[in-house]
């Protein structure tokens, strides 16, 4: 499927998401609660068959925190970007996709470690790189007087 077809397809699966043609890939901004549902449909549906979760990027937009999921189909080789955002900075959480793609296990743990976004139903959500004495370094409001040298 090309970009306009993908957008149409995503809109029929989940009417509450905002889909648009990005510069490179088709993008869809999904409400956090319908992420798992939509991702499961996109993976299982014979027409889309997104069987490869390439990457999860956690982003701090300033006011909001979010995740960017890059999906690819190995059969049709089309790509789709799913985005979720939340303005809850105290306890941000999304549904885990570990039951759909096994690669989500490590990728979600990385996002949790560096941005503090929790993933519900993740089997083993622990910090990956840093120990618990650290904050969440990729957040924009992270302050570390000792380890970060500012000019």
């Amino acid at each position: 499927m090309n970009k306009p077809e993908l957008i149409q397809f995503v809109k029929t699966l989940a009417p509450d998401c905002e889909a648009k043609e990005g510069k490179q890939y088709a993008e869809a901004l999904v409400p956090g609660e319908s992420l798992h549902d939509l991702a499961g449909k996109l993976k299982e549906n014979e027409e889309s068959l997104f069987d490869f979760l390439v990457c999860i990027t956690g982003v701090d937009y300033g006011k909001e925190l979010g995740c960017i999921y890059q999906l690819r189909s190995t059969k049709y080789s089309h790509n789709l970007i799913l985005k979720v955002k939340t303005s809850d900075r105290e306890n941000p959480n999304f549904d885990s996709l570990t039951d759909l793609w096994k690669s989500a296990d490590f990728l979600e743990r990385e996002v949790y470690d560096l941005l503090g976004i929790k993933f519900n139903n993740h089997p083993d959500l622990r910090r990956l790189f840093l120990d618990n004495s650290w904050g969440f370094p990729l957040r924009k409001d992270y302050v570390d007087d000792v380890n970060i040298v500012t000019k």
Partner: protein, 374 residues
Amino acid sequence: MEEPVIAKAINEEEEYVINMGPQHPSTHGVLRLVVSLKGEIVKNVEPHLGYIHRGIEKMCESITYPQIIHLTDRMDYLSAHINNEAVCLAVEKATETEIPDRIKVIRTIMAELTRIQSHQLFWASFGMDLGGLTCFFYGLRDREKVLDIWEETCGSRMLVSYNCPGGLMFDLHPNFQKSVKDFIKYFRKKLPEYDQLLTGNVIFRERTVGIGKLSLEDAISYGITGPTGRASGFSCDVRKHEPYSAYDRVKFNEILFSEGDTFHRYYSRILEMKESMDILEQLIDNIPEGPFAVKMKPIIKLPEGEYYQRVETARGELGVYILSDGNKNPLRVKFRSPNFVNLGVLNHISKNFKIADLVAISGSLDLIIPDIDR
């Protein structure tokens, strides 16, 4: 400061829990694997990361795009050229810079030299992990030839930083074409030695054939790319699927196997070296004339937006994601490093094999720890 996590000697299922690493010769860096053992059988492998976490993604947020290039060298230090190229391509795509053919061809040649020397070092260290010390000397002997070519042209042997946004740092050394041709001639003769020494060895085969099988479905689900994924039949070569630089004008085969065991992960790399030499031979005589760099603005600012670029490193798909707000620093940079994702499968494929097989399996994934930690 909380107490560090200390693994118990014996866990609930009466399995021995031992640490393999952080300092262990077969992990090729500071990777700590907490292994649960029932007798000699591996029941669970849990990687503990972060021993050389440098926060490269955080650092990228406070430096400019040309400076990021130098950090990418330090991720997968055996694919330094290709890592640089990924960021360069993303920046050039964002600024809509047209790159002349000469630069594209030189970048491709350098990338393939990178792949060859990386696989040479893989072969050398994999042989050594399994007890063949001669491999290490032979592999490093041949790799030295590639490093010499780089030293001549780039001025550095490993962390080259030869690509920069808009082209290359310097032009090629006048000897470059001759040295690459000499190297191909030399290495074509030496590559059969690799097969004689290791591939056909009975002990080596006993230790690798049928060990650590990874099915195609699992390879896709775990997101395994590179030679590791292709050994399981997962066609994931970015050079074929989404050609960048000069890969659209060269002919080469994507090495695919269906077995997915340790031996085929190893053997696909041997065959990839041959393909890389084919690519080099097609390009080395046809380097077009032209400038070696396009003039970019002194301070590169990317237009607001998001940019994705993926390239094929020696270990799999490296993805670069840049989120820009129009300033000279990016808002967020993410590296989808192949080693980090490939490590996720280690527990799955090494279950119910002996602890000695764990060395072979983790060696065949060809992990580079600085790329996992970043």
